[in-house]
Subunit: 578 residues, 2 copies
């Protein structure tokens, strides 16, 4: 027996197998997943496993390695989230999402940090050795809502699209803030004195980390799209590029201390459209399926490991600190959501209702990211207390909040996701309104989201598609082809009936149908000028779309539109509709 | 910049990316792949990369790690090969394949080993310190034909199915022999004296290694099939099980020093049929696509690494030894194929032509397995010579033989693979002949392949399918349902016309159509015995298939066949045809 030799892959495979079998097991009993979220069940399995390992070995079971989590388990989930992100609601609410993600998270970090510092001043609690900086550091890791936990719970409760994207988008985009604040406070902890310059550098850093992530992600995304232009002959490795480039974007961002989550989401959202157009249908099925499968396995492993890591002797128990952490997490989130929403609602017609606000506040679940961050803390004498508090917060949010959120959604009658897809009429209506609003915004000089969307679409069709799409050699849409055919037929009929204006545009039209004598007679009566004029008329009517009215086009003046422009636009519109 | 942190995944991703981009690059020029096999181009890329690394670092580039090769790169290729193995030609030629794989490889090992030992006795060559055992050890690693190299070359030349399966099957199944002989000679090298017991133990070990591999593979395969019975509610992780179980079978076999290649092939061939029936169509597309993608990437990486590893200072050059190694590899393979084929042809009607024999001998390519094995050798003073000789043999076979085999196939006009799929007529004909031959073999008492195939099919439908397939609750085939419906209709018509034998089988048939008086009159005239008899006749005619002749069924006597038996058989036949 040579176990050493195969140990690493064997154990990895066994863990994945265990996770998959656990998933199958839950679904065998249909009742169970409808009451308890899968994440809770998986943590429970993990707890049992951890207990068994602890009982057998008599030492703490292995803790989920932070490196493994951030390098291997998190990327598939975030990639899946980014690739299947509904882009319309996301961009419609991007302002609100960013407000929650940035201001909300900062609010939570400082709120939790300062109030816990206040608790530490109470002598009876014996916590006076926990400094303000340590409390803020703890606040920075415990404040952020976890995308994995949110996804696992919100996937099952089917709230309306806007509410879902608000919570989920926040949980994804707060990564940039978390990364900056966590690293900032951690370096502050190690510094002897803190200058005000450092604080301002931290604020500046946030923009670098966030926007840098977006830039890295988009550049890898466009490279991926460009690469798939050339895979026509080897379809079989097409899906690979989607995974490779997005993973590289994540790793590159992590390497430069940028936000990896933001990078991989930008990459996925940036490439999706072009990659889908370039790769074959089967490749696309594989990409979609494999992404779902991979993220599902990662997700399962994370929750099982969370459970396993909970068991052991890493914890220092201090009732007041742990209880107040849970309470402050709830209070500050609720306050933050209330304040920020009242601010947001002032500028929007489509306001966030108080029911939605409650679910947003209540859906602020914490998960594996906090857990990995707390283990990454530098060693100091109260680290075990922080680990205990983090574990309790995670278990509290996942178990108590995760299990009660579905009944609460039912009880409050929160607006649900509509089950049916929008009808064609609705889709046309939405698209019509988009164009109308873009036009209104342009005329009124208000640069709103529709204006920018329209600009982006123009940039996309003018430059990006030409570079990134394989078959962008202006294929005529079927409606244009049909029109040409009908026009040609009509012209032939007219010509045959002898009613085409002053006569046939070209003798070749008739040479086969009429007798040679009439043909020659006609040709004799036409002077070259008339013939040229007719050919011009025919050419315009035969090979172009007839303009039935003064076309409104904001990018070209009425006179200078090229003949291919319109064909292209029709094509793009059809493409979008498809 | 924090490169250390992401180094491992980053470099792996970059290597895969390089491999994929190289593949795309070759296919951009359509001329290139039709002249030079892709494997040669990839080795060439590897050589250049190795040269660059060597030039920049001034030290040998990293050698392909044998562990990485055997644990991560080889399994995907073998899994792909096993999963897409055409089972009919494989099992039809299993005897010949095993003969080539077992006897042929042993022949080559001893032939090459002893003749190289002869060369070592020539004083002028300065090789007298290479012992017989070392030569045999070298023979054991250089003798085996490499499945990766064979697949890469034969995939492109499209020889006929039988020729392909002979070379390819041999290259897969010789793994068991190679493993045993290599480990045997390696342990002999370290032993002070060799007893004859050890030699016999070696022979016995071969059966353990080969059959053990088959057993491990089949048990994992059937477990995989059984697992996919329960994935109906979570389609998304279905493809995972195919990969997990087959990889586990490989690792388990390696752990017990059995043949991993044989195990993974048995696993793939064992589970394919049931897994395909259980999983959804999209899962199946994903499995197929991902397997192809993965094996393609592995394949590319192996050839690139082969090239990279060639550069460096691992080599000790000795002209006579290296030249004679190449010559002996060619001669002994040619002789072996000639002798074994003449033996095989004596027992077969469908003989292997001399052209095919030439291609089998010439297609004995060596590849990455030899290369990894030679690096796994224990350190001794002539190891570098062996490395050099192995490298030359691999490059010679891949470049010279790989590039000339296509022109030779054209020149000799070797029978090619038929382009079109067999017609329905042909398929029916083949299937008819199968049944006919199984019957003839059964009657004549000759237990040939058709007899065993039939037995296996019976065992499969009787036990395996019931356990492993999800929906095996005897769905009646549409032809049976139609027949029942027609029979029922016919019976009703006959009953209405009053022509059903001596009268209606049961009064309820007629109560709605006839008047009560006639009904009662009829009932009066029938005594209970006649009624029972009629009911029996009706039951047989209505709900069973009418037997039009004495049915031949080798598993049941004419009298005792159950009514569902026949429905099942029709179903299975239809299923196989589909």
């Amino acid at each position: 027996l040579d176990y050493q030799h195969v140990q690493v892959p064997f154990e990895i495979t066994l863990w994945i197998m265990l996770a998959s079998l656990a998933k199958i097991g839950f679904h065998l009993y249909n009742k169970l997943p409808s009451v308890v979220p899968e994440s809770c069940l998986l943590i429970f399995v993990g707890l049992i496993m951890g207990g068994i390992i602890y009982g057998l070995n008599d030492r703490s079971p292995p803790v989920m390695d932070s490196d493994i989590f951030f390098l291997y388990l998190l990327p598939p989930i975030v990639l899946d989230a980014g690739y299947f992100m509904p882009s319309r609601p996301f961009f419609e609410n991007i302002g609100t999402i960013l407000l929650y993600a940035v201001v909300g998270t900062v609010w939570n970090v400082f709120g939790i940090g300062f109030s816990l510092y206040g608790i530490c001043q109470v002598k009876a609690f014996r916590l006076q050795d926990v400094s303000l900086l340590h409390n803020l550091l703890f606040g920075s890791l415990i404040a952020a809502v976890d995308p994995v936990a949110v996804l696992a719970v919100f996937e099952e409760i089917h709230v309306n699209e806007k509410l879902h994207i608000l919570v989920f988008g926040e949980s994804l985009l707060n990564d940039a803030v978390t990364v900056v604040l966590y690293k900032l406070f951690r370096s502050f902890c190690e510094m002897p004195t803190i200058k005000s310059v450092d604080v301002f550098a931290g604020v500046g850093k946030f923009f670098v980390v966030g926007l840098g992530g977006v830039l890295v992600g988009l550049s890898f995304g466009f490279t991926a799209a460009f690469t798939t232009r050339f895979t026509k002959d080897i379809r079989v490795i097409e899906p690979l590029f989607v995974f490779l480039y997005s993973y590289l974007s994540y790793l590159t961002a992590e390497m430069f201390h940028l936000s990896g989550i933001v990078a991989i989401i930008s990459c996925a959202m940036g490439m999706k459209r072009y990659v889908e157009a370039n790769i074959s249908l089967k490749s696309h099925t594989t990409v979609k399926y494999f992404m779902k499968m991979w993220s599902s396995v990662s997700d399962t492993l994370i929750f099982i490991f969370l459970g396993v890591s909970t068991i052991g002797e890493n914890h220092e128990w201090n009732w007041p600190y742990i209880c107040f952490t849970v309470i402050f997490c709830l209070i500050w989130r609720a306050l933050g959501v209330l304040v920020l929403t009242s601010f947001v609602n002032r500028f929007h017609v489509n306001t966030i209702t108080s029911k939605d606000q409650f679910i947003i506040a209540y859906g602020g679940l914490r998960g594996a990211i906090c857990f990995s961050l707390v283990f990454l803390l530098p060693d100091f004498h109260r680290k075990k207390l922080f680990i205990a508090a983090t574990t309790v917060v995670i278990l509290f949010t996942v178990f108590i909040q995760g299990m009660t959120i579905r009944p609460l959604v039912d009880l409050l009658a929160v607006k649900r996701k509509r089950e049916s897809a929008p009808t064609v009429g609705e889709q046309i209506h939405i698209r019509f309104l988009d164009h109308l609003l873009a036009g209104i915004e342009d005329i009124s000089g208000h640069w709103g989201q529709y204006y920018w969307k329209d600009k982006l679409e123009y940039f996309n069709s003018k430059y990006l598609q030409k570079i990134l799409l394989r078959e962008y050699d202006q294929p005529k849409s079927s409606i244009v082809l049909l029109y040409e055919k009908l026009e040609r037929k009509h012209a032939m009929e007219l010509a045959q009936a002898g009613q085409l204006g002053h006569g046939p545009a070209h003798p070749s039209f008739l040479s086969s149908d009429r007798t040679v004598t009439t043909d020659q007679k006609l040709e004799d009566t036409l002077n070259p000028d008339v013939l040229d004029h007719m050919q011009e008329i025919l050419a315009r009517n035969l090979y172009r779309i007839r303009r039935t009215g003064p076309a409104y086009n904001r990018h070209t003046l009425p006179g200078d539109s090229e003949p291919t422009e319109q064909a292209k636009e029709i094509l793009i519109l059809r493409h979008k509709n498809l």
